[in-house]
Structure formats: structure tokens, C-alpha cells
Symmetry: C2
Subunit: 403 residues, 2 copies
């Protein structure tokens, strides 16, 4: 009789882990070393970060507040929750308090908490037809139903049809949507469309999980009320935001604003002993003084880069491809000429030192869709122009091969 | 027909969230403001933190490495994984590499990842009879079976009995245990007992989840090989550690060392886009230069405080209560005189401005056990003496009331 035996991990996994193994995905933080121009990453430009002011804020925190090095409150550092409330109230027609806010380890944690609280494996949910959120939701294994977008946002008929077709006893759990400068599509949902979506959420009693990561970075057009603001009863909307785009993803701090009952359900899954207490104090200290001026600068930076990318696209692909024209955020969504495969395109541009993201990565079923996402956030305008020129050349080459 | 309806959150919750609502617990980071002396908190003393060196490290990182403000690799910042490997290899008879290490958001995240990967609701697991881990595991709703401890560590017969009594088809998933200066019991598992536990794990094919949060802070006695080290086949042990006790819980960084297959299963649940990239660089920069000297200082500090607490206990409760004599870590476990209720004691000492933690909080079933945990980590020696004097007075008063 053998004294020891192999552990056989496979049979020891939780049921959920076994299901999840089939669908694991990765954002892939590290970039490939031989990429010279990255048009793939949704990272903000590290050179746009207020490094000196952050260093000063760190010094202030370390000198004055040693509790920065202790465990934190589970729902977040109170002054940072206040900073989020103040920012929200000053930029929008809202009157929220610090109590309405949970600080999370990036908005990704907030979205994950909502998924854990409100989704079962196989449970129905709605998601924008192409969405950054696939990276988070795929692992939870819901029955996700894509909602197509037109230039005004989510197509209402798609939501109605999805709800109507649910089997008896099934309830739509939530609609995960990115209303502003949608990632990857770049489009913004109109006010009218927001009202219609909210109306459906009320009628069919599902949650709207509003991912507003880019809200602060609008550089053109008019700011629109969020789903959270439109939901006067404060009952149907979870709104998430992040400091990743303003101060750098490296701070790993975001937030959720939601009704008390919903926050409580999300908190059931937050056993991290407080999102980074030290960084929370640094960000709070920095934001109290510098928020407005810094965000103003960022808007200018990204406005210029968007324009550089639009101009380069016009020059490189005018007449043979089309693309979105975002009023903020980081991304342009390019519809490729018919027959160009985005996977093949990705490999070919990579070989030329330019990194892009094929559209299918943002689809729950990963079907080839003939789109690519281009990010203008990380590189400077000259790099963007050079990268788009190479990208355009490769697209044209692939077109000629088709003919 | 009403146009809108309430969302009715209760019915929208995931099955898991509904189960979890009944068992939610909280570490409770913030202390009550009118407590003058805290003997409850497992926080390190913020005055023992190397604030100036950390500030220098932050400056260095901000000046030299703007990638600190970007998303990080999912398994952690590579140089920090290397720091953990180097530290492990220099303090123990081990030869691990950075690849064996995952950086996590505190050891709590590592433990949570293991629970998600290897536990189903109702699945059998073993846990030290009193354990910090109840705070994490309670929410997962396993069938947790307490393993009693004697002065040598976990009682082997308890493990054997638990495994023997499992219904057919059920498999013991894991044993969560804290081998060094157990939290809250203060006891250390002997080498012989470690070998026996590992032997049982091999024979019955369950995991050992070894929480070694206090490993570095041994100030007396001889360092013992970890379960991870004893498991030469590298197949049955996940070992977790943390920077919380060395550099402050506020950095929120810990790690897991585990075989590849196990790490992969744990990573299925890590969608946080990298544990804090900025703090990871600061900690790596700091640790590369200062680790050894700083840990040496901490050992001296906590050694002195333990002695202060032991002396105060001897003076206040000698002959009427008994307690453990830890060789490291932060905690002493006091067995109260018969008939003294730890909950009543907690309220009475709180009213006198001293904060303690009743033993039942560390039991999965929260039964009154006649123990309290006293921490000597946060307060200076004079404060400890004053706090224990008040605590002892209250114990004696409650004893007299019983007579």
C-alpha cells in the first residue's frame, strides 16, 4: 500500500474553479518587448502623471499620518470617499455623500464585486456588444446577451427582445454598460437613449452596472447625466469610476456609487482588509488640491492625441475604412474593409512593431467582427501618427491580397 | 398598471450572496475612539515603521520608474517576487525562484484565492480550533472542522478522526493552519508535529494552507522548517506570507508560494489587474537594501513588549489564570479563570478604556470558550503594562462576583 499519493489537483478544485478554468482570460499588463508603438493599451501616458505632486503628497502622508500603514476600513478611507463625493457633486448635478461611496482596488474590483453579488453561473445578463467588461465577466460564466449599439448607444429593441425571450422564472440580472466614450467603441450613449434604457431596467427590474471609467476625460461635446443621476429613485444603478485614468492605473484605486442595499451585497465579497490605505491617503491628499487643474491638463493632452489619430486615419485609410469619433476617453473603433481579418491584421502589424487590439477580444463569443480598437492614450502624437501610418499600410496590403 | 417597480434586491442576489449574507463578518479596521489602550489589534506599531526609508524609496520609484503608475502583471511585479524568493532562500533551507511566488493584495487575498479555488459551500476543511482565518473562511460557508491544539500544535487524532468520519465520496479539501506563534493562540507547532500533519495530508490527499504571517518575527527559540519546506515533493502545501507585519498593513501586499498547478488554480480568481504596482516597487526597492536590519529591529521591539506583557500578566493574574508564551509574533492567549465570560469581560474592560478580543471570535461556531487574545504589537511597553493591569483588575472583579 503506497504511503503517499499525488494530490491530483484537478479533483480537488471547487466546482466553480473547474468551470472557470475553461474560460480564463488575462488583461496582459506587460507589453511585448519588441513593440515600438503601442496602440493597444488602455493605459494612460505615464508622462502625463503628476509625479512631483504625488511625491509631495506621499511625503505629507508619511510625515503626518502613520495610520496610513495600518489596516483600513473595509469600505475605504473616509476622506477619499469624501473626495469622490465632492468630485461627483462638483462635476454633476448630484448631491451624494461619502456614505454612498465604496473605495475599491480599481474599478475592476467594483465590477467583480457586483458580478459576485448578482450573477450566478448561467444567469442572464446584458452587455454592450463589444466591451472591455468581457475580460471580467467571462470568468463568471453568466448567460451574457450582447446588446448591439448604433451611433446613439445601446439598441433598445435588443434589450426588449432579450428580456422577452427569457424562459419563465428567469430574471434579467443586470446590464453592464459603458455610457461615455465606450471602451472599445468610442461612442457615447445619448440622453434620450439613457432614459429609455433606464425605463426598461425599471420595468423589468434589472440592475444597470454603469462603468464610467472615462467620465472625467471628456474633451469635446456636452457632459450628459449618468444613469445614476437619471435614476431619481436611487434604486437601479451601480456606478463605478476609477483613479486609473486620472492618476495612473498603478494606484489601483476606484470606487462604486450605489444604493445602500446594493453596496451591502457587494461588500459581502470584499475581504481585503481595506483597499490600499496608504495610496488612499496619497490620492485623497493630492485630489483635494490638484484635481481640477490636473484633469484640465489631461483633457487637453488626450484631445490633441485623438485629433492626431483621426488625422492619421483619414490620411491612411480615408475612403476605405470607417471609425468612431470619440468625445473623450482613450479609444477609436475602426471598422476594417470587408474581408480583412482582425487577427491576421494584428499579427501583421505586430511584426512591424505596432500593437493593436482586434475587436473580437471584446466580444463574449470572440467571433471575428472586422473591427480593431486603437488607443491614443499611451503614445505621443508623433508616435500615434507613425503607428497609424504603419497600421494603415498593413490594412491596405491585406486588402490588395484579397483582390 | 404601474410603470416602475422596486428592484427587490433580495430576489436579485446570486445564490452564493444569499447564503453569504447570513454569515458576514468584519475585521473592523477602525478602532473605537474612546479606547485609550488597544490590546486587541493585530496591527504592528506604526512607530516601528521605517517611514523615512520608505519615503526615500518612494522618491526613487517616482523618479526612475513611471511604469509604477501603469497596470501591473497579474501575478505581481517580478522584482518583488524575486525579493520574496531571495528572502525565503536566505532565511530558510530553500531554493525557490521568483516563478514560485504570486504577489497578492495582502495575505488575506492569497487565502481568499485558495478558498475560492478549492472550497465549495459545504465542502469539508480543517482549521485550527481557534484561528484568525475564521474571519476569511466564514464567508465561504465550508463544513469547517476544528482541530484542537496542545502545546505541540494540532492534535493528530483530531485530524485522523475528521478524515475517517467523512461520508463516502467526500474528500477533505485543505487544512488551514498557522504554524508559527499561532494567531490567536501564540503556540508554535513542533517539527515532529509538522511531519505528522504533512504525512496525513499526503495519505489523505488534502492541501495544507500554511499561513505564516509572523515567520520573520521570531525573537526566541529556534526557527523550524515550514510545511512547504518539509514537503519535498512540492505538491501539498500553499504557503502565504505578508509585508503587513514588517512594513505595515497599509502597504497591502502579501504573497503565496505554491506549486505551479495550485498557483494556476488560484490565479483564476485574481482579476485585479495586478496587486498595487506602485507599492510593489516601493517595497521591492526598500527590501533590497534594508530588510535584514529592519527585521532585526522589529524582533527586538516585539521581544521587549512580549516580556512586558508576560510580566504584567504574572503580576496581575499569576496563580488565577494561565497563558501562552509565544516565541514570536504578536499575541498571547489567556485562559480565564473558570466562570469568567469573555464577552462580559470584553465589555467591562472596554468601559475602562482597554480593548481586548474574546476568544470566541476566533471559533467557527463562536461558542464561549473562556479565552481572550491579547496583542502586544501596537502599544509601547508602559501602555501594555497599564492595559494588562486594568484587564487583570476586571478579571479579578468578575471572579469575585462569581464567588
Amino acid at each position: 500500500m503506497p504511503h503517499t499519493s499525488a494530490l491530483d489537483i484537478e479533483t480537488l478544485l471547487s466546482a466553480d474553479a473547474r468551470a472557470r478554468r475553461k474560460t480564463d482570460t488575462d488583461e496582459g499588463g506587460a507589453s511585448t518587448p519588441d513593440i515600438r508603438i503601442s496602440l493597444s493599451s488602455g493605459q494612460p501616458d505615464p508622462h502625463s502623471m503628476p509625479v512631483e505632486d504625488l511625491a509631495t503628497a506621499m511625503q505629507t502622508v508619511l510625515e503626518n499620518d502613520r495610520s496610513a500603514l495600518l489596516y483600513g476600513a473595509r469600505d475605504g478611507y473616509a476622506p477619499l470617499r469624501q473626495v469622490v463625493a465632492d468630485k461627483t457633486n462638483s462635476m454633476e448635478t448630484l448631491r451624494i455623500t461619502a456614505d454612498d461611496v465604496i473605495i475599491t482596488t480599481g474599478a475592476a474590483q467594483a465590477i467583480g464585486l457586483a458580478a459576485q453579488a448578482f450573477l450566478d453561473r448561467g444567469a442572464p445578463m446584458l452587455i454592450d456588444e463589444a466591451s472591455w467588461g468581457t475580460l471580467v465577466f467571462r470568468a463568471f460564466g453568466p448567460h451574457s446577451i450582447p446588446v448591439r449599439w448604433d451611433e446613439d448607444g445601446p439598441i433598445i429593441a435588443d434589450i426588449e427582445r432579450a428580456v422577452d425571450r427569457l424562459p419563465d422564472g428567469e430574471r434579467m440580472r443586470l446590464f453592464y454598460t459603458i455610457p461615455n466614450f465606450q471602451n472599445p467603441m468610442g461612442t457615447t450613449t445619448t440622453l434620450e437613449r439613457r432614459r429609455q434604457v433606464l425605463d426598461l431596467a425599471r420595468r423589468h427590474r434589472f440592475l444597470i452596472l454603469e462603468d464610467d471609467a472615462y467620465f472625467e476625460l471628456r474633451f469635446a461635446g456636452e457632459s450628459l447625466p449618468s444613469y445614476y443621476e437619471l435614476d431619481k429613485a436611487r434604486s437601479h444603478v451601480i456606478r463605478t469610476g476609477t483613479f486609473s485614468k486620472i492618476l495612473g492605473a498603478g494606484v489601483r484605486l476606484g470606487w462604486a456609487i450605489a444604493p445602500a442595499e446594493i453596496r451591502e451585497a457587494m461588500m459581502l465579497y470584499k475581504f481585503d482588509l481595506g483597499s490600499n490605505p496608504f495610496m488612499s491617503r496619497v490620492v485623497a491628499t493630492y485630489m483635494q488640491e490638484h484635481l481640477e487643474g490636473h484633469v484640465e491638463e489631461l483633457r487637453e493632452v488626450y484631445h490633441g492625441r485623438r485629433d492626431a489619430m483621426l488625422a492619421a486615419l483619414e490620411e491612411g485609410l480615408g475612403g476605405i475604412a470607417t471609425w468612431s469619433r470619440p468625445e473623450g476617453g482613450f479609444f477609436i473603433w475602426v471598422k476594417l474593409p470587408d474581408g480583412v481579418d482582425s487577427g491576421e491584421l494584428e499579427r501583421a502589424t505586430m511584426a512591424r512593431g505596432v500593437d493593436i487590439w482586434p475587436g473580437k477580444a471584446f466580444r463574449m463569443d470572440e467571433h471575428e467582427d472586422g473591427y480593431v480598437r486603437l488607443a491614443y492614450s499611451l503614445e505621443k502624437s508623433e508616435q500615434i501618427a507613425a503607428g497609424v501610418a504603419i497600421f494603415s499600410e498593413v490594412v491596405r496590403e491585406l486588402c490588395y491580397q484579397r483582390e
